[in-house]
Symmetry: C2
Subunit: 193 residues, 2 copies
């Protein structure tokens, strides 16, 4: 996605330790046009991979919500965002799975209420980053506990060097990234064409 | 907003202790049409109150992000969501303010990077709930530290009996709620006409 790649190259900053800062258009500030375009692009490209009959978009709070809402608009399907803390409004019997936390080094539990995922749901997962793939893997596992089927996966930015795609390929569904970073170091940010 | 009021009456649940559960369309699952309509309604009604020249929409993570993105689309202005934990990507000198936490009884610090709020910004604040008003008040205080001006406030659901409007009226800007709950008890949910 050209407009996204341009933003990554112009505003992305490498902070060392494999950390790419894209707060200016993904993790702290969002441009409405760019964000809504991400949703249309996920829909177009996953459809080209044969994904159809989507009944739910699922993401994890927090930074997944905006691109996932854009995808929900494009697919015309409700969005469910997995919670990382159990709200007092979430009933027992929720679907959950654990993933290592990016930021804190600990473990994050992703929770989805059984009220909003059913065995006949067909799900597309959207997230901001595909890096190690372990957050997405946890989302897939939580979703599968409901009996719902995952049809496809979309990530705004894939860090191609962290192996996440290999982790997720075992699930046998299309994986679409809107921009893939091949290499990231002091000399710059290198995107796949 | 009629479609929102219908959802509140059909899907909202009173859980006791003043807690209204609207996870089905605001805090856990989101309908794309309803959410995007919220954004248009905020824009229309704040404009009717004389709000113009908006350069930023500001909200607090997590549940504010979706309606605020919808408002950002309608106002055609970037969205900045205040963080509750400082990410490693946030530089020193951030604008912050403290609010009592809804869910945990403690204190939440709302943080906005100085990179995404400037003294000449004109801001509309959007949040999911207006209850005690203290989260919105903290957002206003954080924003004012940047020198930016707050032009208006929008909440998806106002709990009219928790006094938040009175707290915020001292800032002298229009406050728009898409649905106002007058009363909430075992007998039902009572909306203002």
């Amino acid at each position: 996605m050209k407009s996204l790649k341009e933003r990554i190259l112009s505003e992305g900053k490498y902070l060392g330790n494999g950390i790419l800062k894209v707060d200016g258009f993904l993790n702290h500030q969002l441009y409405p046009d760019l964000t809504m375009q991400m949703g249309r692009e996920f829909c177009k490209r996953l459809s080209q991979h044969g994904v159809s009959g989507v009944t739910k978009i699922v993401t994890a709070e927090t930074s997944g919500i905006a691109p996932a809402l854009a995808a929900a608009v494009a697919f015309d399907a409700p969005l469910v965002f997995a919670r990382k803390k159990r709200p007092i409004t979430m009933p027992d019997g929720y679907f959950s799975s654990e993933a290592p936390s990016h930021t804190k080094g600990g473990i994050t539990t992703l929770m989805i209420s059984p009220e909003y995922l059913r065995a006949d749901d067909q799900v597309v997962i959207i997230d901001d980053f595909l890096a190690t793939g372990l957050t997405t893997k946890a989302l897939i596992e939580a979703i599968q506990k409901s009996g719902a089927r995952v049809l496809g996966i979309g990530a705004v930015i894939e860090k191609g060097f962290e192996g996440g795609r290999t982790v997720l390929e075992s699930f046998g569904v299309p994986i679409v990234s809107l921009a893939v970073i091949e290499r990231l170091d002091e000399s710059g940010i290198y995107l796949r064409d």
